[in-house]
């Protein structure tokens, strides 16, 4: 049986216990705050990051470089036979391109790089599934086949407090950022083939929750036996309200919850929440 390493980036927001449980290898992005660079989750922890974010700092992220991936891949290939690397959407970051370049430079057919066309827990879902399969002895082809099958089904709803952070990070055209944070208007974003699409806007938490429930209902998916991912950027009580609503509406019992890491936090800004789920 060939030994397969599962690699992802720090944007995947997989809870630490799961990372440890499945030996997932997380490569950090770089966070720049006031000219100082930090490795996401290594040089800077979430508490410090959110304190800086809440104090009004506007941090930025840098993609993982090809060199960094080459080092990681070379290192892992010493103890693994294969590498499957699942990264955040190529439309949101150049990280995927860097990994492809690293693979080309290493001229190693044992490395598979996949574009999750998603981010945060959306990529996280794929990574966890891949890691579970690797642990159970699936082959590379089996894992890649399954993940490619899952990619178009992973959906999310992000409720932002403001689009300012996304706009500043260059992830949004200016015309779309027009609704500022006035009047408690919350932009709602969904996944559109790897890109963030502003789907709607609502006012206030309660309307946001109603929107999420309606959107999920319209998918006609029986969520009861599914796992739902919940994410927040320092807004745990709002995330828990959403959890309750989903639990009550769909009878869901299985949640993966996390406070977003610095990379997702940079682009979502504070007080954002996200719901991630797999369609049928």
């Amino acid at each position: 049986m060939s030994k397969i390493a599962i690699v992802t980036d720090s944007v995947s927001d997989i809870p630490d216990d799961i990372v440890k449980l499945y030996d997932i290898y997380v490569v950090p992005l770089t966070i720049d705050i006031d000219g100082v660079s930090y490795k996401d989750g290594i040089d800077i922890k979430k508490d410090d990051f959110y304190n800086l974010l809440n104090s009004g700092k506007m941090p930025t992220t840098s993609q993982i470089s090809p060199i960094e991936f080459m080092e990681v891949f070379s290192d892992l290939l010493k103890s693994y036979d294969e590498i499957i690397c699942i990264l955040l959407s190529s439309k949101l970051s150049g990280t995927y391109q860097s990994a492809l370049l690293a693979k080309e430079n290493l001229k190693n057919s044992k490395i598979t790089v996949l574009d999750s066309k998603n981010f945060s827990l959306g990529s996280g879902f794929l990574v966890i599934e891949a890691a579970k399969m690797a642990r159970n002895g699936s082959t590379r082809d089996e894992i890649v086949g399954k993940i490619n099958d899952m990619i178009p089904k992973i959906s999310y709803i992000m409720i932002f407090d403001s689009l300012d952070y996304l706009y500043r990070g260059g992830r949004l055209k200016k015309s779309q950022a027009i609704l500022g944070s006035i009047l408690n208007i919350k932009p709602i974003l969904v996944n559109n083939d790897g890109e963030l699409e502003i789907k709607d806007k609502v006012r206030g938490r309660k309307n946001a929750i109603k929107w999420i429930i309606n959107y999920m209902k319209e998918t006609n998916v029986d969520f009861k036996r599914k796992e739902i991912g919940l994410l927040h950027t320092d807004r745990e009580e709002f995330m828990l309200e959403i959890e309750n609503a989903i639990r009550n509406e769909f009878g869901v019992t299985n949640f993966i919850k996390n406070r977003a890491g610095c990379s997702a936090g940079v682009h979502a800004g504070p007080y954002a929440v996200g719901v991630f789920f797999e369609l049928d």
Binding site: D200, R203, G204, N207
Partner: protein, 531 residues
């Protein structure tokens, strides 16, 4: 005299306008609720004065006179009563076109035409209003059309108008309950009285110089009192009622609020000195602010004149928005939401059809959606719509909060039908609470109301009374939230501090978001939106 010529026709309207202007305050006071929103007299006077000003530019040719009078009235129309008056004038003018002279019979028929045009202009005509009075006058005029003398004829119409005005409380129960006659009908009576004086050969003279709204551009406002005067007195707040009584005759838009050991006074007056003197009797003046509102208004007029052209540098967008706003905070919100034109106006400061029309002309869009945001501005907007050559949709919003929520929910990718549907859906789900105060002793629904009492309205219906605006607001909010309520928005007015609004927010027990916004609206401490 059995007929009149163009010259006399001009004199009749001039006399009518002057008489109404002199009495406009008397008409203003005839509002059903004792809240500070009576402006029927000012609106009608503005409308007629605007028409007369246009008429005076015309030659003595009857057609010239009628055309300019009619167009002037339509453009100058302010408030529902002003719009109805402009329609009466339009019908009257239409009937008399192509006459060399005007006989008594012609005049009677013209009045009758004015009446029927006005009835048709109103979606649901209500009896006991100006419509009834003009109809009664027209009927009487037709009966008197064989009379040979204009003076006797007009005297007869005046008597019919006076009797009709007295009957309005019998036809409209809300008038009877409030113990007033209909304000619009009374205004119409004053116009006829001015015509009667004129036909008798008496010149109707201007009674108050500051009340004149006819002579020049800068005066084309209903600013009766020039100086917006505000003072903060270090004094026992218990004395605020006494001070209020003393200065209430000095002007209008009076607000006296006591808070701990401070009294805050706001008044529009022509005598700021007297106001300050009275304030000094109670304690030290901590702060005084006096603004000449006429100069401010002239600046506004100049600014708006320089800025009248439609911006064609960009292609027409799909949807344009025009909103009427009663406060600077609200205007700012409308602009942030992407409203193309925001026009100042609300209770006691209604814009004219021309103001709206000018705004519409500036917008370069395939469809323009208009939010009047006040019951008394809806007809004005509809009148402006008929005069502009564009695709315009007037939404009958009665308060600005309805428009704000409606705009937020609009998706510019929707078709116009869906946009209108979305707007109406949004508005239907909103409960609007307004907190204001009483300006006189009165009885509403069997409840005794004293001047200065705080009054609460839910969707325009009087619901609560008290002495503290936060208490009244809290009670009504609590009564109107349910499990379905998703968000509460509190727009605090210009006389409420943000701290006071936050106090209110803290007392509300609600598990959703409570949003506090500075609205800056006058007269209304709070406008609260429950959705």
């Amino acid at each position: 005299m059995d007929h009149i010529d163009g010259k006399t026709l001009k004199l009749l309207f001039k006399g009518g306008a002057q008489y109404l202007s002199n009495k406009s305050d008397e008409v203003n006071k005839l509002n059903v609720f004792p809240v500070p929103d009576g402006d029927t007299g000012s609106n009608m006077a503005y409308t007629l004065n605007y028409a007369v000003k246009e008429m005076e530019k015309a030659s003595d040719n009857i057609n010239d006179i009628l055309n300019s009078l009619s167009r002037g009235a339509l453009l100058g129309a302010k408030g529902n009563s002003g719009v109805i008056l402009s329609q009466i004038i339009r019908g009257f003018a239409k009937s008399l076109l192509n006459h060399d002279i005007i006989t008594i019979k012609d005049f009677a028929e013209a009045l009758n035409m004015g009446s029927s045009v006005a009835y048709k202009a109103v979606m649901k005509p209500t009896e006991g209003t100006i419509l009834t009075v003009v109809k009664d006058c027209a009927n009487k005029a037709l009966k008197l059309s064989k009379i040979k003398d204009f003076e006797v004829f007009i005297d007869g119409i005046v008597k019919a108008a006076a009797e009709s005005v007295e009957r309005t409380p019998d036809l409209l129960p809300v008038l009877k309950q409030a113990g007033v006659v209909d304000s619009g009908g009374k205004g119409f009576l004053f116009i006829l009285l001015g015509m009667l004086e004129t036909i008798k050969g008496h010149e109707v003279v201007q009674e108050y110089t500051t009340n004149d709204v006819s002579t020049n551009e800068a005066d084309l406002t209903n600013i009766n009192f020039k100086y917006c005067t505000e003072m903060l007195i270090k004094a026992n707040s218990q004395m605020s009622y006494k001070l209020k009584r003393e200065i209430e005759s000095f002007g209008d838009s009076l607000i006296v609020v006591g808070d701990d050991d401070l009294i805050k006074v706001h008044i529009h007056t022509n005598n700021p000195g007297l106001v300050l003197q009275n304030g000094l009797k109670y304690g030290d003046l901590l702060k005084v602010k006096i603004d000449n509102m006429k100069i401010q208004h002239e600046n506004i007029i100049l600014e708006s004149k320089n800025n009248l052209k439609q911006d064609n540098s960009l292609p027409a967008k799909k949807y344009g928005f025009l909103a009427v706003s009663p406060g600077d905070g609200i205007s700012k919100i409308f602009k942030e939401l992407g409203c193309d034109v925001v026009i100042d106006g609300g209770q006691t400061m209604n814009p004219s059809a021309l103001d709206i029309l000018n705004g519409l002309e500036k917008i370069n869009a395939e469809n323009i959606i208009v939010f009047p945001n006040n019951k008394n501005i809806i007809m004005t907007c509809e009148q402006a719509m008929t005069m502009a050559d564009k695709n315009i949709y007037v939404i009958a919003t009665e308060s600005f909060n309805q428009a704000i929520s409606a705009i937020i929910n609009i998706d510019a990718n929707m078709s116009i039908d869906d946009v209108i549907r979305s707007i109406n859906d949004t508005i239907e789900k909103i409960t609007t609470i307004e907190i204001t105060y009483s300006i006189r002793d009165s009885v509403i629904d069997g409840i005794n109301i004293k001047s200065g009492d705080i009054l609460g309205f839910v969707d325009g219906k009087f619901t609560a009374i008290g002495t503290d605006y936060n208490e009244v607001a809290l009670k009504i909010i609590s009564d109107n939230i349910s499990d379905d309520t998703s968000i509460i928005t509190i727009y605090f007015g210009k006389d409420v501090s943000e701290d006071k609004a936050k106090d209110l927010q803290n007392f509300i027990s609600f598990d959703g978001d409570i949003d506090i916004q500075y609205g800056g609206q006058p007269l209304y401490y709070y406008v609260i939106s429950i959705e």
